[in-house]
């Protein structure tokens, strides 16, 4: 595997590459692909941290665990809750911040504060020809030119290799509580979560476990405010099922985020995005071995027998991404949902412009 220590090294490696490169950070996300592995984990370290401006600039290979430590010292955090999928995927290594953004990895708080891409303020990256390019900056509001920052978030390294990211961080909250609604089936769970998310009580998580038949709704903030809102939500949701309030539930939300329910269980894992009210129909269509629901029902994690073409069973608008599956299944079905022809042409056109030789994670996104 090629390791690089500087952005200039990386640019040179890419410029002189003779064949495909498999770009990775800590290698924890189980992305398959062809080519010589190229790790950016040597590009590591904090460049700038301004807690009073809620901004952090770090090299892309910096381990997420190190960033959490730096932020915790100032009582701040990555609000979008990037997932740690090592348990689910059975991988080793340390997740890096570059890969968090390259995969646009967002947890339960997505519904309230946005996705990883919404917290990415600026990037430096090396394109497929070895050119260093920057876009965005380190300020919250910036409309200077095209937003390539968004384009790079979720591009899985196919348009360029991230070398530095600047991001928005948020204060750690003083307290949290979860309102649990028990004895609800999927249809009433979606209604429960919609009611909570449509309330003024600033819900920061809404998940459902169908095996336990429990919907859980999270509030965070100052202690007094959390108690107040938990009580209000308890009243609001009392009609849907048996209601209880739990404190200190962060471990439960980490399980939702990391899909630990499927860790160690055989089968393929799919991540399906749709509007919450389509969740009931989608769940029926999937005929899955097990399901987990997040984002108020708008995100379904599905465990299905190996090799299942889940997309062929689904008719609701949205998209199904294959997160865990054999190389053969990935090859056959593709990781990402296919795009309609005009959009596929745009995506292919962008890849051709940013990586004309087609050497950066070729085939991963189409």
């Amino acid at each position: 595997m090629s390791m690089v220590a500087t952005e200039a090294d990386l640019a040179e490696q890419i410029k002189t590459a003779q064949g495909p490169l498999r770009v990775q950070g800590g290698g924890t996300r189980g992305l398959s692909g062809v080519g010589e592995p190229l790790s950016v984990s040597g590009l590591s370290g904090v460049e700038l941290y301004e807690p009073g401006a809620l901004t952090l600039v770090v090299k892309a290979g910096t381990p997420v665990v190190q960033i959490r430590e730096v932020l915790a010292a100032e009582n701040q955090r990555l609000a979008f809750e990037p997932a740690d999928l090592r348990g689910l995927l059975g991988t080793q290594g340390a997740p890096t911040i570059g890969a968090v953004f390259a995969t646009n990895s967002s947890g339960p708080r997505r519904i309230q504060c946005g996705a990883a891409r919404d917290h990415l303020l600026g990037v430096r990256f090396v394109d497929g020809q070895g050119q260093v390019i920057k876009n965005g900056g380190r300020v919250m509001k910036n409309v200077t030119g095209y937003d390539l920052v968004k384009l790079m978030a979720g591009a899985h390294g196919t348009l360029g290799v991230l070398t530095e990211v600047s991001l928005k961080v948020l204060p750690q909250t003083e307290a949290e509580a979860s309102v649990l609604v028990s004895g609800v089936d999927l249809a009433s769970a979606v209604q429960t979560m919609s009611a909570a998310l449509g309330s003024p009580f600033d819900v920061t998580g809404a998940a459902y476990d169908p095996e336990a038949q429990v919907a859980r709704v999270r509030v965070e903030g100052f202690a007094d405010s959390v108690s107040y809102r938990a009580v209000q939500l308890q009243k609001l949701l009392a009609g849907f099922g048996e209601v209880a309030v739990e404190e200190e539930t962060s471990a439960d939300w980490a399980d939702v985020r990391d899909v630990t329910a499927f860790a160690g269980r055989a089968g393929d894992v799919w991540r399906v995005s749709m509007k919450p009210t389509d969740a009931v129909a989608a769940a029926e269509q999937m005929q899955a071995d097990a399901l987990q629901f997040d984002w108020g029902g708008g995100l379904i994690w599905a465990l299905v027998p190996e090799g299942t073409d889940l997309r062929a069973r689904l008719s609701v608008p949205g998209g199904a991404t294959l997160i865990r599956g054999s190389g053969e299944t990935r090859e056959r079905l593709g990781m990402f949902p296919p795009e309609p022809a005009p959009l596929a042409a745009i995506s292919a056109g962008l890849r051709q412009k940013f990586d004309p030789r087609g050497i950066l994670n070729p085939g991963l996104m189409g």
């Binding site: 009073g52 401006a53 646009n104 900056g137 919250m140 937003d147 390539l148 405010s225 005009p342």
Partner: protein
């Protein structure tokens, strides 16, 4: 400010273009008379004017598609226009272009409270999106100050922000999907009522692309439940440094106010003279607003006041009721009117890291003396978005040019301080020629690649965003054969 020389080959084909367009549009949707095209000669950046060759006002996505297909075949540049409220000249025509206005497309297509989304046609005004859901207790969060007039189409083109984006984000954080027509007439659907489906984030790059990648005709927007209430506190300080430190401490404390507005002494004085809001005569004034239930508001304001006290405020005024809240906001909301009362003014829109605030304000003061023009600062302090207002006299020869030069220096200063040229207004023509101060040629080339893919012939709003010298070879579009 330079615009490309009109292409005589295109001008010569006006009659043929009108004839083709009239086959796909009703007669009243085509504006070709010189006296009427003048209505489209500028947007809210009124210093620059140029009537278009034609203006068209389609009513459906299909009509937009027909117009673009014909203009594509004829090699005619198209400048999309929302409500024409751009402060950056985003909708400024060229003499050989067709203005495509979406004003007739202003319907609400779907309101979906269970999924918390609304789908609208893009000509609908920002405020009337909230208007469609407010009776049910919901709102659309981005609130540019032109929200009464500005259209969602323009909000998407410029990735518009507003006073409340510290808490709720800007347009890109609240936009879930679009129906867009490509320059060749192809209609595409991107995103929808769902979140983050995988694949490249095309929606993310379309938002903020200033009408250069496609014409958005419909949008799916996130709507939120209104908070139970909101209330501001006003605080005065005897230096910009101290006010800046107070902002930073509030943010670090874990409170996320919905807005933190900053005004400097020249701005305070002008607003006070104009609106008589009872502002203290001090160096710097902050208005901080928080949301929640009555109790939650009180808890948050108490924390904020406790932080402010550590910075020796010369004034600390908590709104006890709606009337007092109104008075606190009165001066700030009339800032632009107050300036207009004194003189002509130019409103800038740079963003800086909050930590650079004292340095940047001091340097703006020095530049003000060098250029001999007064400047007042209002500022979304929570997110570093500055709006320096430079006062000048449009009737005095050379004053506009001095003002433009002064403005350019301030924007360069923002970039040097670690910020950017524009926080929420967009580049348009206004900041086009400063782009190389923020980006290296390779950075700009990467952006041009995106336009090459979406609009290979460079017909959509081609003279904006990038310096003309950088785009010259691309803009020489092949004109269709006779």
């Amino acid at each position: 400010m330079q615009m490309p020389v009109p292409n005589p080959a295109i001008l010569a084909r006006k009659a043929r273009l009108v004839s083709r367009l009239s086959q796909v549009l009703p007669g009243d949707a085509i504006i070709e008379d010189d006296s009427e095209t003048r209505a489209y000669e500028c947007d809210a950046l009124t210093a620059y004017k140029c009537p278009p060759m034609l203006a068209v006002l389609p009513s459906t996505t299909n009509e937009v598609s027909d117009v673009l297909r014909i203009c594509h075949e004829e090699g005619v540049p198209v400048v999309p226009r929302g409500a024409g409220t751009s402060l950056a000249g985003g909708a400024l025509p060229t003499a050989d272009c067709v203005i495509l206005g979406v004003a007739r497309m202003n319907e609400v297509l779907e309101v979906d409270y269970d999924n918390r989304v609304i789908r609208v046609q893009s000509g609908r005004t920002n405020l009337s999106v909230s208007g469609a859901v407010e009776e049910d207790g919901f709102f659309y969060a981005p609130d540019p100050s032109s929200q009464l007039a500005c259209a969602i189409a323009g909000n998407i083109a410029m990735n518009s922000g507003g006073a409340h984006c510290l808490k709720y984000g800007v347009t890109t954080n609240n936009l879930l999907g679009v129906t867009m027509v490509m320059m060749d007439g192809t209609v595409v659907e991107i995103g929808g009522a769902h979140l983050d489906a995988g694949g490249l984030d095309l929606l993310g790059v379309i938002c903020g692309s200033e009408g250069q990648l496609g014409v958005v005709t419909e949008a799916t927007l996130r709507i939120l439940r209104k908070p139970e209430g909101a209330r501001p506190v006003l605080m005065g300080f005897d230096s910009n440094e101290v006010a800046g430190a107070c902002v930073s401490d509030i943010i670090k404390s874990g409170i996320l106010p919905v807005a933190i507005e900053f005004m400097d002494r020249p701005c305070i004085r002008a607003c006070e003279a104009f609106a008589k809001a009872g502002y203290p005569d001090c160096e710097a004034l902050l208005i901080v607003e928080v949301e929640g239930s009555e109790d939650e508001i009180t808890w948050q304001l108490n924390k904020i006041i406790e932080i402010a006290r550590r910075h020796d405020p010369v004034e600390l005024r908590e709104a006890q009721d709606a009337d007092e809240a109104g008075r606190i906001w009165l001066g700030r909301k009339s800032a632009f009117g107050a300036m207009g009362q004194i003189n002509d003014y130019m409103c800038l829109d740079g963003t800086i890291p909050v930590s650079s605030l004292p340095f940047v304000l001091r340097r703006i003061g020095e530049l003000s003396k060098e250029f001999g023009l007064d400047v007042a600062n209002v500022f979304h302090a929570g997110d570093g978005n500055m709006h320096p207002l430079i006062l000048f006299d449009a009737n005095k020869p050379g004053d506009l040019e001095t003002c433009e030069a002064f403005g350019a220096e301030i924007l360069k200063l923002c970039v040097e301080a670690g910020g950017c040229l524009t926080g929420e207004h967009g580049v348009g023509v206004e900041k086009r020629d400063l782009m190389l101060h923020q980006y290296d040629p390779a950075d700009l080339e990467a952006q041009l690649h995106v336009k090459d893919v979406f609009d290979p012939n460079w017909l959509l709003n081609p003279a904006k965003v990038f310096p003309l010298s950088v785009t010259e070879t691309r803009r020489v579009a092949p004109v269709a054969a006779e």
